[in-house]
Subunit: 845 residues, 2 copies
Amino acid sequence: MSDMTTTITRTPTGSEAAAFRRGSGRSVDDRVLDQLHTWWRTANYLSVGQIYLLDNPLLRRPLTRDDVKPRLLGHWGTTPGLNFVYAHLNRVIQERDLDTLYVTGPGHGGPGMVANAYLDGTYSEVYPGISQTEDGVRKLFRQFSFPGGIPSHAAPETPGSIHEGGELGYALSHAYGAAFDNPGLLVAAVVGDGEAETGPLATSWHSNKFMDPLHDGVVLPILHLNGYKIANPTVLARIPEDELLALMRGYGHTPYVVSGGFDGEDPRAVHARMAATLDRVLDHIADIKEQAGAGTLDGRPAWPMIILRTPKGWTCPPEIDGKPAEGNWRAHQVPLANARDTEEHLHVLEGWLRSYRPEELFDDAGAPVALATALAPEGDRRMSANPVANGGLLKRDLVLPNFRDHAVEVPTHGGSVNESTRVLGEWLAEVVRLNPDSFRIFGPDETASNRLSAVLEVTDKQWDAEYLPSDEHLARAGRVMEMLSEHQCQGWLEGYLLTGRHGLFTSYEAFIHIVDSMLNQHAKWLKVSKTIPWRRPIASLNYLLSSHVWRQDHNGLSHQDPGFIDHVVNKKPDVVRVYLPFDANTLLSTYDHCLRSVDYVNVVVAGKQPTFNWLSMDEAIAHMTRGLGIFEWAGNELPGEEPDVVLACAGDVPTLETLAAVSILQDEVPDLRVRVVNVVDLMRLVSEGEHPHGLSDAEYDAVFTTDKPVVFAYHGYPWLIHRLTYRRHGHANLHVRGYKEEGTTTTPFDMVMLNDMDRFHLVIDVLDRVPGLGSRYAGLRQRMQDARVAARAYTRAHGEDAPDVADWTWTDGDTATHDATSVRSANVGVGAAAAASAATGGDNE
Amino acid sequence: MSDMTTTITRTPTGSEAAAFRRGSGRSVDDRVLDQLHTWWRTANYLSVGQIYLLDNPLLRRPLTRDDVKPRLLGHWGTTPGLNFVYAHLNRVIQERDLDTLYVTGPGHGGPGMVANAYLDGTYSEVYPGISQTEDGVRKLFRQFSFPGGIPSHAAPETPGSIHEGGELGYALSHAYGAAFDNPGLLVAAVVGDGEAETGPLATSWHSNKFMDPLHDGVVLPILHLNGYKIANPTVLARIPEDELLALMRGYGHTPYVVSGGFDGEDPRAVHARMAATLDRVLDHIADIKEQAGAGTLDGRPAWPMIILRTPKGWTCPPEIDGKPAEGNWRAHQVPLANARDTEEHLHVLEGWLRSYRPEELFDDAGAPVALATALAPEGDRRMSANPVANGGLLKRDLVLPNFRDHAVEVPTHGGSVNESTRVLGEWLAEVVRLNPDSFRIFGPDETASNRLSAVLEVTDKQWDAEYLPSDEHLARAGRVMEMLSEHQCQGWLEGYLLTGRHGLFTSYEAFIHIVDSMLNQHAKWLKVSKTIPWRRPIASLNYLLSSHVWRQDHNGLSHQDPGFIDHVVNKKPDVVRVYLPFDANTLLSTYDHCLRSVDYVNVVVAGKQPTFNWLSMDEAIAHMTRGLGIFEWAGNELPGEEPDVVLACAGDVPTLETLAAVSILQDEVPDLRVRVVNVVDLMRLVSEGEHPHGLSDAEYDAVFTTDKPVVFAYHGYPWLIHRLTYRRHGHANLHVRGYKEEGTTTTPFDMVMLNDMDRFHLVIDVLDRVPGLGSRYAGLRQRMQDARVAARAYTRAHGEDAPDVADWTWTDGDTATHDATSVRSANVGVGAAAAASAATGGDNE
């Protein structure tokens, strides 16, 4: 495989206006129709060949059973349509010098994508072993969906593709994500009519209300109605045409319809209609772009889209074994599934292959003839070679402001209080300012709710629908993208990252599960891309989950679920990272790291509520660099000796409760030697052989000891900590408190108590686990139980946490002064700060 | 709390035609307008009171700071709209004797739902402590979003609700699910304009193509445009009216628009318009239903829907602190967030509350006056008391055919081969036949692909869009629901179950993650419902995941993810079950159990590919009853002695590979005492204190031993087995093989080799773990390595598994005859059977 960077550079599209020009106005002549039809025939032949043939690739001898693959895998049904569109786009790219990305919703039409990349020459450039010779065609066919070869779907291995498409629904959101900030780019996005039934696709049509006609590119949706899914008709193919047109107009589009190929219609007639329609559509786009450039656009344009109706599996045999094939759901996958079993079936296959007249399509050496490739654009104008589809080639590092400049003052540990995400928001505002065309923030409606509002001081929320005078922070162009669809946010961001830009997605921890499956697909894409030399690293996919499980006072049980971390950790370790920063400075340091990273999925869970600042910036950086470490200032172990107990914590609320527990222990059990460990990079817990961030066993043992009790307060489901550490020494001594599915509450401490992760219960856990302590401190144990009962009773009576809980503060230094039931007047308690924060009205969610 | 069963019975709706009758044709008079407006004012007052008041509920003295809750939680913005619709539905229910279920997409409008249930009397019936007295109102207010009280959203605690609605997107799919097979039921479904932006909601409008106007009920969508989300305008409120109408027509609806309440318009005028529109809409519905009954419907009806535009937070103060409140996003949650902090704010709140004139709404005792409740229907015609919303009340057990009658012959263990799901399909066909109006099968497009096609011999796929002559198994009425949207399938099924019926959802294992978040919400609903005496158990939510991770030959990496099991296991243990049946008889036995169960989520993973039948039906029932057990016929341990090693397995492919490994071991290491354990009910592994299905430690030890090596071949991610067993004795000896994110392959055995879960590697695992064996059998170890290399090389050369692998069979009895590299001619190998199956063409996916 060659390195695409050495052969392909991006041809500039020039000014935005110049990128989209009107066509010649001439209709296509017979010569061009020949070119279109020949490209299409050749691509179809190459597609069928991939599905069926092991050998005899150009049919230069009669087909035999041994020429056919024993296991027939792949999807034919959508492929001729994808090839058809590809051919026609080639023509207009040549004529108008268009910079075009091809997004295929029906990614399972993999053979077509490979065939087109082969025809335009890209395939042989990136995979020199697959040359344009008969031997190259043989290898091209054999590798398809074959052990050790390439997948049957469009995949990272496929030049020109930015997504896999096996899981349907994201074609348009990926397309729009690619178009943002690419004003000269045309993204032609084929939507299958099966895919169109999915929820994510159904709402993604509304992306046009979030496009800026001036600064963003153009998405041209092509709704390809071939009428069938696996075994059923599709909804949009079976509603009256007026309903379908109304639907597309309702989505804000101007629909153009091309229909043909049915009842044996000559494909050349369909080519002529498609070419004429595409010319009208591109002229329409050029007009809109021109008006946008001139500032004469009157409101949101009704962008064109194409409805293309062609038969499913177009050009395969009309009937096989007496049952309809072409134009029927039976053509979805492998229409002739048993090609090797009888001579008759073998003849059907041979007849099908020969119907494309391969002898006219390839020269003696096996290379496609000139007529077959006449439509191929030059260089990176070829859709399979467009560097936009290999975004890492175009990615520039972000200009990042020094996050240290945004550090909060931490006079003593816990000696000040901030809303961490509000601090982060100020830094992010600078990131936005410094990277005006390569960084966006996506979220369902939570930028303000998550206290990132500083960002809106330097940019707006992009919006191309109606405005009212009372609107705030909405504009045609802006860096913040808010639509109440996690699918859209994720899909847009993926498309934006895959084409070489940067961003983050902020959402509720519980509802980020909505995109579990999308995360799967993206993580798999990253995993495979890392093994493909010509795929360049892209910016990481960064989550910021700020409305987290422990602070769902407004929303209760339905909003409590920390399992996204578990879901992510199931992915290949070298593409996932999970961070649990616990205060403003650690959050800043974490996010600086995330925005510099590539090819990861970074999950950052960090509360938006006021909380103590535990670490100065220098301490935060040192802690983040280690990923986990001992809070020496919080423990009281003696130099050179192991502690009696380790209190570990991960997450903001667990850290708070752990330190509160430590303060009680140091008051009440002053001779107990306590070590406090905080884990901010969860993957550090894993053994080093299993994750790149994993600690060595020696390092782990040095922190956690091998035989002392460890009481671990964890943000999420407790068993994840067990899972991550089960190969570690001392695992039997590890006792984890975390979230269990126990029920709703409406005050934060109630919630913590319900899960036995509160300070009082952590003290009890220590008493119960350090040998001999339980009997010596039976009275303390009882007082801790009483404190819990009292705290709960207070919430039931007053509707808020008891002051002794809410206003607890940490004091550095003299441990003897710790008193769990008195307010430390030296510092500001979190409770008071929360009340002050609520008064700002920024707490809507 | 009283038991709803004792107070509420369902009033029959009579014949389908009679259920929807045309109205009187008279417009509403002033008296009715008074009733509408007074209900609405009262419901609004009760809603605001819940959000704000701790005491002084009827404002019978001036409001003081202590009357106001210290923490203000809840969502006002959507609430007046929900109350408005509720009042108007009451009127038409009374007039037309309608059987009506109210589904609220904006479930966070919880105070409104509670207020209406209180007003119509239902609330005090199910919660007698909340009486219709001043003290009752005080308690009603205080409990709302208060520690120990009720959640801020509609919830299981809310009478009349079938869903929580905190996670938006599922209102319409739940509504349609409720309407299926309820021909006399009107489901009024409010869709918020925020919710309308979600993907699942955007596609759920198309549910009308899957409704049978004759045998199903009617869904009346009410798109409530209040214009704003948390901090943004909504898309559908900001597109031109003609686009919005086109969109609704494109979705196949007849839209009716009601708009009002803006710029201080008198609400009575809006009441008049809404009443008139609702009458037209219900007459339209009555006409459609009449035509359906008469058989005169011409194609799919364009069912009416209502677009209702009212101000967000309607009737709250127009401005608060100089910023717009009513009609603005600021009214989303608590418009006056700091009501206690100043006298001025307290006065704003008091003025707002008094604007409803509570002194006119409640009598001296504190009960709502007659005018306020005049619109309440009687008994179970009240929407909050409709037993459809407490589906367990209506649930009848399924009539289940004897699954033993569908048993496959198993002459010897592994002595026959079947596609398990095809066998299940024959039994399910009987289930369908015997339960013609209470059982449905839902799936994205996979009933045939998953080989349940026998079902289509007795029923059809329900479809109310256009038909073509070539269509098969489509009909206006049918028990199979196929739309390419996992969200829709899940939402429909949830709605169907929540209203007292039964069903199952069949899908791809990898893509069921699409509904992770929906599963969360449903599981939480079940968990809480179990604690509410008046909520009756509903049928379990049953999954059948047949295109599983190990058999993605067609699709590769993107279709490989067994993590749904992990996700489900994170839920509260008493609502989840995971089954891994490994052959036809165990699958039959499993599904019989699942369809009899209530209040669970049952995840059944069972392959559709041909595989050996390992157990006779008697053995299968015994094994399923235990949930896990020793395959005595497969091991060679001596009576009264523990084995040298335990080979455990869970899942169909792991079971096959484990038995193949055992056959090698028995041939090659005949003195090794092997025990084979199979786990079919995954929850049996958990300690009995943690899951109702958990084995006691003594039972676990008796099966797995406490100190022998256990080599466990598991269907999913291996760490789940560690997690489930980490408290067990002998956990340190447990070695799990399972799926890791390693990459795509295209033959089944390649896939198991890639994950080191193949027979040869399991043998190596045993050699490496039984003390002394590795050195004694170094030669065997090398041969196993060589066998793997050879097997992989064969796939690379031929594109299919090597015959010695594919055609391996098990032979009971004489262990000396086992030979891993020869074909057992006595039995049919899986490879041959798979080839035969492929030849049937039933393998499309």
